[in-house]
């Protein structure tokens, strides 16, 4: 910026002003009759559309949300300072939208797409409406390409495919955001653009997340859309739609996008606030009647497009916070029914040290199976069943001395599996690591290692593979198939290491 001459600016301004043509402007105007809590009732503007942007005389903008016989209800997207009864409102004839461009990558923006990271303006190449119709049936393609989260328990048992919507649900402090963050970190070099939408979060939490991202180099392919707890309810309400509009911009270019909505419970609360202030009737839990549509129309926009329609995809990871593990509350049941599966996190597991605290019994991925690599599918084959059998027998652990050998072995194997599925934060595993660990575990080669030493043993084993058997690693990563010979090789190497 420093090389721009002061005189240049002045001359540009002068010519702009000289060439300015004074035209008669024709505008449709209305006037404010009441204002409060970020909601304005406007008289006039008879032709305003639902969802249209209107501009108040102070320059603040608003979105038309209620159309009544004589008045319209407008939600403000900024401060109501200076607006009084009688203030003028002008139609813009535009629907609310966000400016989009490739330059958004690596930036932190607010719900209106304006930068809030102090790194200067973002040049827009296009303008996308925040509310957009979801792609139709014929434009969609089945989900078949995996999106690796790097988390062993998820990739092996509840795989996520590109274009899928997988809900992350659990109580507070169970590691919901961590799973989403690890997934974003694992997309490095995977040709996936990530969008993290923070809704109603503390600004400090968002700052921490942005910090973690930049520390791990994830900000290079990530956009953060933040509407923090101090933002107005209408801004929190539009944040996930803005995020999706940005995602659609990239999807239309044929790119794969991962979008995290953190979290939709707070989004529903913001919408409830807005609806009640707009005097819409409250329904169950005081949410308005269209709260299901609120989330269904948002999540329906995630999909995988056919090549002829752009060929990109949007994978959505919505997050829902439950209260005391109650998944049968209104918003959780709604979002569970909209998504293609859920990862259910439990406080009990979390505090027992099983992290990520995934409840294997209640979690499911409805389309993920098709989106798993063949290698992973084969390696993870009996994992869920083994864990289910273990849980069934778990109650007998206290009688361990009186148990027969088969039951004892089963319990021992289960304990080792659980230990294997534990994974520290920000340490995503690559596909080959996951496959090797699962193959070794399936052949019960971990079972004679003491539980306490598992972690060290596992990392030493992986180092051994990397040093001596890089051919195995290469074969898994390139062919993504697990042949019987390969399994033999892996087992042989593990046995060799144990000697």
């Amino acid at each position: 910026m420093s090389n721009i001459n002061q005189n240049d600016i002045i001359s540009v301004l002068k010519s702009e002003i000289q060439d300015y043509e004074i035209k008669t402007t024709v505008k449709e105007t209305g006037s404010v009759i009441s204002i409060g809590d970020g909601i304005a009732t406007v008289y006039g503007l008879d032709n305003a559309m639902y969802g249209e942007l209107v501009e108040f005389e102070t320059g603040v903008r608003g979105i038309v949300q209620n159309l009544q016989a004589k008045t319209i209800g407008v939600v403000l997207l900024g401060s109501d300072y200076g607006l009084t009864e009688g203030s003028k409102v002008v139609r813009t004839n535009k629907r609310a939208g966000v400016p989009v461009s490739d330059k958004l990558i690596g930036r932190v923006v607010n719900a209106l797409g304006a930068p809030i990271d102090g790194k200067g303006a973002i040049e827009a190449t296009d303008f996308f409406p925040i509310e957009n119709e979801a792609p139709g049936v014929c434009t969609r393609k089945p989900v078949t390409v995996p999106l690796q989260t790097g988390i062993l328990s998820i990739d092996s048992m509840f795989p996520i495919g590109r274009g899928q919507r997988e809900l992350i649900i659990g109580d507070r402090q169970t590691g919901k955001t961590s799973i989403a963050m690890d997934t974003i970190l694992n997309q490095k070099g995977q040709n996936v653009i990530c969008i993290y939408v923070a809704i109603g979060q503390k600004a400090s939490t968002v700052a921490k997340i942005v910090n973690t991202m930049s520390k791990h180099g994830a900000l290079e392919y990530t956009i953060v859309v933040s509407s923090s707890a101090s933002d107005l309810a209408p801004l929190q309400y539009i944040a996930p739609y803005s995020g999706t509009a940005i995602a659609e911009f990239f999807m239309k270019q044929g790119k794969d996008v991962l979008i995290v909505y953190d979290d939709l419970s707070k989004h529903a609360v913001a919408y409830r606030t807005m609806s009640l202030l707009l005097e819409r009737s409250p329904g169950r839990e005081a949410y308005p009647g269209d709260v299901f549509y609120l989330h269904s129309r948002l999540l329906e926009r995630s999909c995988r497009l056919e090549e002829e329609f752009g060929g990109g995809s949007i994978t959505a990871l919505p997050i829902i916070e439950t209260l005391a593990g109650d998944v049968s509350a209104y918003i959780p049941t709604n979002v569970i029914s909209i998504t293609d599966g859920q990862i259910f996190l439990e406080s009990e597991l979390f505090f027992a040290g099983i992290r990520p605290a995934v409840n294997v019994g209640l979690s499911v991925s409805r389309v993920g199976g098709a989106a798993q690599t063949k290698a992973m599918k084969k390696a993870a084959g009996s994992l869920r069943i083994d864990l289910a059998q273990y849980r069934e027998m778990e109650v007998f652990t206290q009688f361990s001395s009186d148990l027969d050998k088969t039951t004892k072995d089963l319990l021992d194997h289960g304990n080792h599996l659980i230990e294997l599925l534990k994974q520290p934060l920000s340490k995503p595993l690559a596909l080959h690591e996951q496959v090797i660990i699962l193959v070794v575990a399936n052949n019960k080669l971990f079972n004679d290692v003491a539980i306490k030493e598992m972690k060290a043993f596992r990392s030493d084993l992986m180092d051994y593979y990397r040093a001596k058997y890089s051919n195995i690693i290469e074969e898994i990563e390139t062919k993504k198939v697990l042949t019987d010979e390969l399994i033999e090789q892996i087992v042989k190497a593990a046995k060799e290491f144990k000697k």
């Binding site: 301004l13 702009e16 402007t25 449709e28 105007t29």
Partner: protein, 168 residues
């Protein structure tokens, strides 16, 4: 603002076929004398007393209408009813209401030009033009017809130019 309630009362008033002058006088009286409105709005004052006041002050034709307004406790929206009534009258006469804000009062023939332009544009027989002077426009004029604003003032042009320059 004209509410549906005011519109309903205005329609009734219009259907009575009361002379426009009578309605106009009533309007002026009620608008200029705030004490009178206060008395009629006051719920503590008995209906009989209010009726006596109305009978003494207003024309017979409109008195019963005002009494109903007092009975229904809606005398407070009388000015709204009047706005709605005026619109109904104009509509009936196939006329349009407009407001011209200027810095320098236009000549009579200029006003005629504006009127005939509006008549042609909105396909009406006449225009009821309200005039207002506002020096803050700096120059030019602003014309309001219904919800539409035609702005050819210096103030409007400056704010448009500001928007173009800062790219908002």
């Amino acid at each position: 603002m004209i509410t549906q309630r005011a519109l309903n009362y205005a329609k009734i008033l219009y259907s009575f076929g009361i002379k426009e002058e009578t309605v106009d006088q009533t309007k002026k009286l009620l608008q200029n004398c705030s004490e009178l409105t206060e008395v009629l709005e006051n719920p503590v004052i008995k209906k009989k007393e209010k009726d006596n006041v109305i009978d003494a002050l207003f024309d017979k034709e409109i008195a019963s209408f005002l009494k109903v307004l007092c009975d229904n406790k809606v005398i407070g929206i009388f000015s709204e009813i009047m706005d709605a009534y005026e619109e109904l009258v104009l509509e009936h006469k196939n006329m349009i209401k407009a407001k011209l804000i200027y810095t320098e009062k236009p000549e009579a023939d200029q006003l005629e030009q504006i009127k005939s332009m509006l008549c042609n544009k909105y396909n009406k027989k006449g225009v009821s033009l309200e005039l207002e002077e506002d020096a803050s426009l700096i120059g030019g004029y602003v014309l309001y017809v219904g919800n539409t604003e035609y702005n050819k003032s210096i103030k409007g042009a400056l704010s448009e130019m500001q928007k173009t320059l800062i790219g908002r």
